[in-house]
Every structure is written in structure tokens, then in C-alpha cells.
């Protein structure tokens, strides 16, 4: 982790939907190469913030830069440097595994040779070669999630945004999924992940806890546990919520 370079810089981010304030003056940095966890209950404003950083939603105000570029003036250029996986499964179910990979790799402008090479690599790592010609609809949920993650980083982005990636997945697959996240991190990809599973917070390098649109705490899991005199992140969260 390189504390010198912040790949995401957020100052006073505000997002309002009419009168409702979903994000209230958020300030944080995400450093290159780290796994940054965004924690909070449902409706705390995690997804809203993440969607703004991905360029899917426009902020009401605030200074934001992603991957070294100002969000307001470079939204489309930023998109080349980031990957995204939404909480709703979003690969094409009626396309085959390799067709989905080819499509996204193609959209990110990879050459034919690169597409072929990365598809093979990816399927090998995921041990999905056998289902290469199967439609996504035929795969079990856990496999689909892993595939969706791999597709999100097919173009080797600097940052990948994961929105509740492990929702509804069994514990074993969740474990495997986190192995993949670590691998991506080792490959130099910064990971920005939202979750409401508190145990997952402990897998992150640093976490940020949100509640009702505001950031309540930010730091490494160890720092937070010390600060709130808690045994684990669950307790931290309960103390903050109180």
C-alpha cells in the first residue's frame, strides 16, 4: 500500500435526491493498491457514493477525483481506468460465458489477440473452462458472481468498485470470492468494496463506516477495534450505531 498516492480523493461530497440527503459531506481518500471497505446498514448511502465515483450518478456538490482525474471534467476517461460490479447480477444471461467476456473486453478496446489470451487465462484461473460454452443462465449463482468480478477487471483497471458483491452467496463461495479480491489487490488493482457483512470488514485494509448518509468512522480494522474497545468489527458497528 502506498500512502503517498490517493487514487480516490473525496472532499465534501453531497448528494441529494429532492429533499433527502443521501450523502452528507463525505471526505475520504483511498490509497493505491489497498482494499477499501465501505460499511453500513442498508440505506446508509454506500451504494449512492459508489455510483457517483463510477460516474453512474452525478454528485450534487463536492470535490472528487478518481484515478488521478477530476470527476466532473473526465467522467468518460475515468471509466477506462475503473471496473465495476453491481449488486444486481449484470452479465447477459442469454449469452455464453465466453461471449460475455468477449463483449466486455471488446468494449474496453482490447485487441482480438488480447481478448483470446485473457479469456483463456481467466477461465483457467476460475476453473471454468468446462462451462466456456454454457449460457450464464445455466450457471449457479456463486460461479456467476466470480465470473462477473473477473469480467469487471478484464481490462486491468486501476480501481475496481464492488457493490455488495457477496450478497446471497454461500460462505464457501464468499471465501473464494475474497481470495479473488486479494489476488486482484496483489496484481496492483485498488479495490473499493461495499458490504453490510461486518466479518468481511476484517478482510479489508481500511474501512469506512457510514450511517444515515454520514461517515462515522474511518481507519484500519485494528485501529477501529482499539478505538471502540471492541473484540471484533461487529461490536465496533454496534457501538457506533448506539
Amino acid at each position: 500500500m502506498n500512502k503517498e498516492t490517493a487514487v480516490i480523493r473525496v472532499r465534501d461530497l453531497v448528494k441529494k435526491f429532492g429533499k433527502f440527503t443521501a450523502n452528507d459531506k463525505l471526505c475520504f481518500d483511498v490509497y493505491e493498491g489497498e482494499i477499501f471497505g465501505f460499511l453500513g446498514a442498508n440505506g446508509a448511502g454506500k451504494t449512492t457514493a459508489l455510483r457517483i465515483l463510477c460516474g453512474l450518478s452525478l454528485p450534487t456538490s463536492g470535490e472528487i477525483s478518481v484515478a488521478g482525474l477530476d470527476l466532473y471534467s473526465n467522467r468518460e476517461r475515468i471509466k477506462k481506468r475503473i471496473g465495476y460490479m453491481s449488486q444486481k447480477f449484470s452479465l447477459y444471461e442469454d449469452l455464453k460465458v465466453y461471449e460475455n467476456i468477449r463483449l466486455y473486453a471488446g468494449i474496453y478496446g482490447l485487441s482480438r489477440k488480447e481478448i483470446k489470451q485473457r479469456t483463456d487465462e481467466l477461465l483457467e484461473t476460475l476453473e471454468l473452462e468446462a462451462v466456456r460454452n454454457k449460457r450464464i443462465a445455466e450457471l449457479p449463482l456463486g460461479w456467476r458472481q466470480k465470473l462477473a468480478f473477473s469480467v469487471a477487471i478484464i481490462h486491468r483497471p486501476r480501481i475496481v468498485f464492488l457493490d455488495e458483491p457477496t450478497g446471497g452467496v454461500d460462505p464457501i463461495t464468499r471465501r473464494q470470492f475474497w481470495d479473488m479480491i486479494y489476488q486482484a489487490s496483489r496484481d496492483g488493482i485498488t479495490v473499493f468494496v461495499t458490504t453490510h457483512y461486518m466479518d468481511e470488514a476484517e478482510y479489508c485494509d481500511r474501512v469506512c463506516i457510514m450511517e444515515a448518509g454520514r461517515i462515522d468512522a474511518i481507519g484500519t480494522p485494528t485501529e477501529l477495534m482499539e478505538e471502540y474497545k471492541a473484540e471484533n468489527m461487529d461490536e465496533v458497528f454496534i457501538r457506533i450505531a448506539r
Partner: protein, 371 residues
């Protein structure tokens, strides 16, 4: 460019993989065209007639027989009561009542004129008008016949005009060759517009649109990717329908087919970008469907496909300047049936060109990668 190719590849795979949709897209429209084209006729035959002959004279009997012998009329029943005859009209069992009052023959001989009454079911004003015209013709012929019998062919008051008809471009009054292009265009447009309109909104609902939105794809690339596949399918469908029409109905193709396809390409661009625009501004398939339903039915019924566009009120004709279907229906019929050339339809060409540009820009502009 390569991005667009990837998008097109994806759309085509999805379309051709859907076993259920393929027959609906390619077979159903052609079947409907072939069957329904027979329905669109105003040609009258078997006008059901009830005769109330209270005169029961030689002349009245001959008059009734004259109606019976006409190809248009079918004398269904006789009665002596007007009320009973009206009941036939009311029960939709007859279309017209011929009432010959008592003393008809006597009046005709002595007073030199006599009245007959025709009661016509006029709920459908058009067919009532035609029934009236045909019935009057039969009466006139009969009248002339008895005058000639009594006074000879060249007498005072026997001036006669011989009206000869010629029906150009379609001497047999074959309504099918006129309706076929109309019905085909309706079906092709419906398929093209629905596929386009539903596709994007469906991706929004499924969440796949969002995944595309975080990629650096350009808006115009995306719009082309959503437009082109259905444009190709619609054009293919149009050609297929024309071919079937040519083979089964001997659809004439007087004008240049190249010109026709030039127009068709432009027209489909307009129709499909309207579909795309509707889906860009909608959030759910239900919404886009009802918007589609509204615009499409309005376009169809105003385009003059089944009813003559010239007879519409002025405001409707003005509204038709934004009805792409009205332009194309006019043009396809002119090219196919009359052999009109580019000069005859250049106005429509430039109007559609402008329309296509506007609609595509509008769809691209309103498409938001971020909300």
C-alpha cells in the same frame, strides 16, 4: 468501430438465440399479411334486401326481379309489414328494405311518376352510401327499360349519358395489391419499433444497462448498437414480405426497387429511433409499451392505410406531417403501383431525412449514462 461491431454481434446472438421470438419476428407477420390482406375490402356483394311489395303488380314484381338479378343484391325475404322489415334491419339480418307502396303501378302509368322507398341501415355510412348508389342504379336501369318498352328509344326526355369507367394502374380493382404494402409496412414497423423500444428498457430493468454505462463506450456507439440490428431485421422482413407479395399476389413493382429501399432505409431509421427515444425516456417495459401502443396505433390509423388520407380533416393532415408512417405508405404505394420516380417523391425524401436526423439526435442526447 470495433466497439460497435462487438455490440452488434451481441445483439444478433441474443435475437437469434431466442427460440420463442424468432417465429414471432419472422413468421407471424408474413402469415398475418397473407391472411389479413383479404379483409381490407369495401367491395360490396350480397347486400341483403327485404322486399315489402304492397302493390303486387306486374311492374313491382319485375322491379323486384331486377334487384334479384343484380350481382350486388340478394333478395332475402318478402313481407307485407314495414315493422317486420325494420326488425330485420335491427337484428342485423338485412341491409336494405325496398318498399313498394300500394298503387305504384297505377301512379306510374297515370301520373307519370311513382315513388318507391328504400330504407338503408346507415350505421356504416360508407356502405350505406354505396348501397344507395347501387340501388339507384338498378332502379334507373329498370326505369329506362320500361320507358323504352312503352315509348321507344328516342323520345322526349330520354337523354342518356353513357358513363364509362377506366381504373388506371389497377383495372381489376384488386384491393389486395393496395392493402398488401400497407399491412406489410404496419407489421415491419411494429416489429422493428417494438424490438428497439423494449430492448434498451429491458436492459435497464435487468441491470445490464448499468454495466455498459460504466464502460468508456460513447453514446453514439451505444445508440448505433441498439438501432442497427433491428434496422437490418426490419429491412430483411420488408424484403421478405415484398417477395411473398410478388409471388402470391403478383404485387406490381412498377418503379425502381432501389429507390424503394432507399426510402425504406430512411423510414425505418425514423421509426426505430422513435422507438429508441421512447425507451430512453421510460423506466419500465410497461411504460414503454403503452407509449408505443399509443403512438403506433395513432400513426397506423392516421396514415391512410385503410381509410383515404385525403378525406381527413385539415388538422389531421397537418398532424400527419409528423407521422412517418404516412410518408412511407404514400411513397411505397406510389413507387410500387404507379412507378413514381424520385422527382415525384423528393418532398417526402427530404422530410424523412430531416426527421431521421432529429430523432436520432434526440435519442442520443436524451440517453444518459449517469442519472
Amino acid at each position: 468501430m470495433r466497439t460497435i461491431i462487438h455490440l452488434l454481434q451481441k445483439e444478433f446472438i441474443q435475437i437469434f438465440r431466442n427460440r420463442f421470438m424468432l417465429p414471432i419476428i419472422f413468421v407471424m407477420p408474413i402469415v398475418q399479411m397473407v391472411v389479413l390482406v383479404f379483409a381490407a375490402t369495401l367491395e360490396m356483394k350480397n347486400i341483403e334486401m327485404i322486399v315489402v311489395d304492397k302493390d303486387l303488380s306486374e311492374v313491382s314484381r319485375r322491379m323486384t326481379a331486377k334487384f334479384g338479378g343484380s350481382p350486388f343484391f340478394n333478395v332475402k325475404s318478402f313481407t307485407f309489414s314495414i315493422e317486420e322489415a325494420e326488425d330485420f334491419l335491427r337484428a342485423n339480418e338485412a341491409d336494405i328494405v325496398l318498399h313498394i307502396p300500394r298503387g305504384f303501378e297505377k301512379d306510374l302509368m297515370r301520373e307519370n311518376q311513382a315513388k318507391v322507398q328504400l330504407l338503408i341501415d346507415a350505421v356504416n355510412a360508407t356502405t350505406a352510401g354505396l348501397s344507395n348508389a347501387y340501388a339507384s342504379n338498378v332502379l334507373r336501369d329498370f326505369n329506362e327499360q320500361i320507358i323504352i318498352e312503352n315509348f321507344g328509344p328516342v323520345s322526349q326526355g330520354m337523354e342518356r349519358v353513357n358513363i364509362r369507367y377506366s381504373f388506371w394502374y389497377n383495372p381489376d380493382l384488386n384491393y389486395k395489391i393496395y392493402m398488401l404494402p400497407g399491412i406489410l409496412v404496419i407489421l415491419v414497423t411494429l416489429i422493428g419499433m417494438m424490438l428497439t423500444a423494449l430492448n434498451l428498457v429491458r436492459e435497464k430493468e435487468l441491470g445490464t444497462a448499468e454495466q455498459i454505462n460504466v464502460t468508456p463506450i460513447r453514446k453514439y456507439q451505444f445508440i448505433i448498437g441498439k438501432l442497427l440490428p433491428f434496422w437490418v431485421i426490419a429491412l430483411f422482413e420488408l424484403s421478405f414480405g415484398l417477395l411473398v407479395g410478388k409471388i402470391l399476389f403478383h404485387l406490381p413493382m412498377e418503379g425502381s426497387i432501389a429507390l424503394l429501399f432507399l426510402f425504406a432505409s430512411l423510414y425505418l431509421l425514423v421509426a426505430l429511433s422513435i422507438g429508441l427515444f421512447l425507451s430512453v425516456i421510460s423506466n419500465s417495459q410497461i411504460q414503454v409499451m403503452f407509449l408505443m401502443f399509443f403512438f403506433f396505433i395513432t400513426f397506423v390509423l392516421m396514415a391512410g392505410i385503410f381509410t383515404p388520407a385525403e378525406s381527413m380533416p385539415d388538422w389531421a393532415i397537418r398532424v400527419n406531417t409528423i407521422n412517418p408512417l404516412a410518408y412511407f405508405i404514400r411513397v411505397i404505394r406510389m413507387i410500387l403501383l404507379k412507378g413514381s420516380g424520385f422527382a415525384d417523391i423528393s418532398g417526402e425524401f427530404f422530410a424523412l431525412g430531416l426527421y431521421a436526423t432529429v430523432m436520432m439526435s434526440l435519442a442520443t442526447w436524451r440517453y444518459r449514462k449517469a442519472a
